[in-house]
């Protein structure tokens, strides 16, 4: 089960037939919604002009018809886009899945016991909080009725308002009952399952929280300003013969309603078998003004003008050592960084590279994704789908580490030797 080097070999994607089918369905929905939107526009326009002859009827018909047509067309486009954009969930073959479930059986049984206890606690709390929430909702409705505003929607509207407020209150009560226990259970699940899954990929382990040297990265001015940093998941160990660390990182700025995400993504650090010195940063090229700003912030660094104009168009390089920067950024590595940016396989956003001595860190923005999600408390702990999803996710993250290792020729050489060492010798 343990894989050597190629971690993604077991991960397969569903065939192209399903994708093609989804694409056709999306086209059909888009076309149908387009026709419906046109029909609605024409119908509304005719009806409006019939009801109010003259320019007034024409204008209101156009306005209302356009609104309705855009609503229908936009809904169709949204459905079609979601059909096309959703990538088929990767899966592992049945044998691998069986082996995984077998190896995790003991832990999953323990987690199931913990989950049942959490569910019992949640149910106990929900017994009181749901009725209290519903009562608060009903109370709000009563206050609204006592306000003396005349009900325009009749008895139906009044009842509808009451039902909505009571249901929303009950849901809020249930959410408050499940929230804390659910988060604790999710953390427990990940802390128990992820180390075992990481072990399936070789000499790797997992820890939470991650042990990141954010102070050092801050001094490189890689990130925008932030107030809080959360890094709950880190895989570390040896991958393809090289020390690696892969951690999720979420940086936020502000608090409350002003809170916004400053950075969300992965930090992949590989210790290269090189004797590089100094600090080199490869950052997104953002124009002369940003270059000047960066220079002012990092006065001990010099701008490194590299020969490749395509690279210079995409990235700016700053370093404390002109020669070390070029020793790292060989023409081959520059090509690979450009290719890595364009590769949509596992990486989105623009990778940013920092080399501190012989430690190469790749910062990969991956916004809007839940990197490692535990199943909910209402789902069985031994859920095969959840375990496989986590396994596949780790394989995907290691594929990013592979990309970092493949950047450097010396690292590739060590990885190749490691693969050869793992091969059985035949007489």
């Amino acid at each position: 089960m343990t894989t050597e080097g190629g971690t993604t070999s077991e991960v397969t994607m569903e065939g192209g037939t399903t994708l093609e089918g989804q694409r056709r369905l999306a086209q059909l929905i888009l076309a149908a919604c387009g026709i419906a939107a046109l029909a609605i526009f024409v119908t509304v326009l005719i009806a409006s002009m019939h009801k109010t002859p003259g320019i007034g009827g024409l204008l209101s018909g156009i306005f209302v018809g356009l609104f309705a047509a855009l609503f229908v067309g936009g809904s169709g486009a949204w459905i079609a886009m979601s059909l096309v954009a959703v990538k088929p969930a990767p899966k592992v073959d049945d044998q691998t899945a069986d082996e995984l479930m077998s190896e995790l059986r003991t832990v999953l049984a323990e987690l199931e016991s913990a989950r049942l206890e959490v569910v019992r606690q949640v149910n106990t709390r929900a017994m009181t909080r749901v009725p209290v929430g519903a009562a608060l909702g009903f109370g709000l409705w009563c206050l609204e009725q006592m306000g003396g505003r005349p009900g325009r929607d009749g008895i139906g509207g009044v009842v509808w308002n009451a039902v909505c407020l009571v249901v929303v209150g009950a849901m809020a009560g249930y959410y408050s009952a499940v929230r804390d226990s659910g988060a604790v259970y999710a953390r427990l699940y990940l802390d128990r399952v992820l180390p075992l899954l990481a072990g399936q990929f070789g000499d790797l382990s997992f820890r939470s929280p991650a042990q990141l040297d954010l102070r050092a990265l801050n001094s490189e001015r890689l990130f925008d300003d932030y107030d809080s940093a959360v890094s709950n998941n880190e895989f570390f160990g040896t991958h393809r013969g090289l020390p690696v660390s892969i951690a999720t990182l979420l940086l936020t700025l502000g608090s409350g309603k002003q809170r916004r995400v400053s950075f969300e993504g992965l930090l992949v650090e590989v210790t290269l078998p090189r004797s590089l010195k100094g600090s080199t940063e490869v950052i997104a090229s953002t124009g002369a003004f940003e270059q000047l700003r960066h220079w002012l912030k990092t006065s001990n660094r010099q701008h490194v003008a590299l020969e490749d104009p395509r690279f210079a168009q995409v990235y700016d390089v700053w370093s404390t050592d002109q020669i070390a920067a070029r020793a790292l950024l060989t023409p081959a590595l520059m090509e690979r960084l450009i290719a890595l940016r364009g590769s949509a396989a596992n990486i989105d956003g623009r990778p940013l590279v920092v080399a501190r001595d012989n430690r190469l860190t790749l910062v990969i923005p991956r916004s809007g994704r839940d990197h490692f999600r535990a199943p909910g408390v209402r789902e069985a702990a031994a859920s095969r789908a959840s375990v496989i999803a986590l396994h596949v996710h780790i394989a995907g993250v290691l594929a990013v580490a592979d990309a970092v290792i493949d950047l450097d020729s010396a690292a590739r050489a060590v990885a190749a030797v490691d693969v050869l060492a793992g091969m059985p010798l035949h007489a």
Partner: protein, 191 residues
């Protein structure tokens, strides 16, 4: 009228001085790059005696080649700390010959399996590769610095100020040796 003349004179002086300062800064950058190459070359020169000592244990029949590499090293070392642009071409040529000699040594070493698998030799080769990568990087830095200096002294008013700034003759670019440019004879290698 006087004001216009004065303004033009002041602007011209400022422009000329800025240009002059740029040329001097870029000239110094070239010297810095050259020193960077020297540091890496010195590291290579320091590695070679160790490399030859290890090779000598296994390659008794290749004494001529080993002596040749030792002589090429001595010749290259004699150019150490050369900063005169006129002597630069000779320095680059000597280093090119040394690179070619070491290349031959490593090629011949392929015929000695015991040497190839010798621990200190593997370590020495790894160190040599590392130094070669750094030398290539230092040369790229040097070429970038020379290109930048050439732009400054060849674009007007650069030619007027070049001699004044001590760059009467632009330093040469590092170029690959003739041996490195030669096409590889695959047939000869495979025979």
């Amino acid at each position: 009228m006087n004001i216009i003349v004065w303004a033009a004179a002041i602007v011209s002086t400022v422009v000329l001085y800025s240009w002059y300062a740029t040329i001097v800064k870029r000239r110094n950058r070239v010297a810095e790059a050259l020193a960077g190459i020297d540091v890496q070359l010195t590291q290579r020169h320091d590695l070679i005696p160790n490399l030859l000592a290890i090779a000598r244990k296994f390659m008794e029949h290749e004494r001529a080649l080993l002596d040749e590499v030792a002589a090429l090293r001595s010749k290259a070392t004699s150019f150490a700390n050369t900063t005169d642009p006129a002597a630069m071409a000779g320095k680059f040529a000597a280093e090119g010959q040394l690179t070619a000699g070491l290349g031959r040594l490593f090629a011949v070493a392929e015929n000695y399996p015991s040497l190839k698998s010798d621990g200190p030799m593997i370590e020495a080769q790894r160190g040599y590769q590392e130094v070669e990568t750094n030398i290539a990087a230092a040369r790229r830095f040097y070429n970038a610095a020379v290109g930048s200096l050439n732009n400054a002294i060849q674009i007007f008013p650069g030619p007027l100020l070049a001699s004044l700034a001590g760059v009467a003759k632009p330093p040469p670019f590092f170029e690959a040796t003739a041996a490195a440019r030669e096409a590889v004879d695959a047939g000869q290698l495979l025979s």
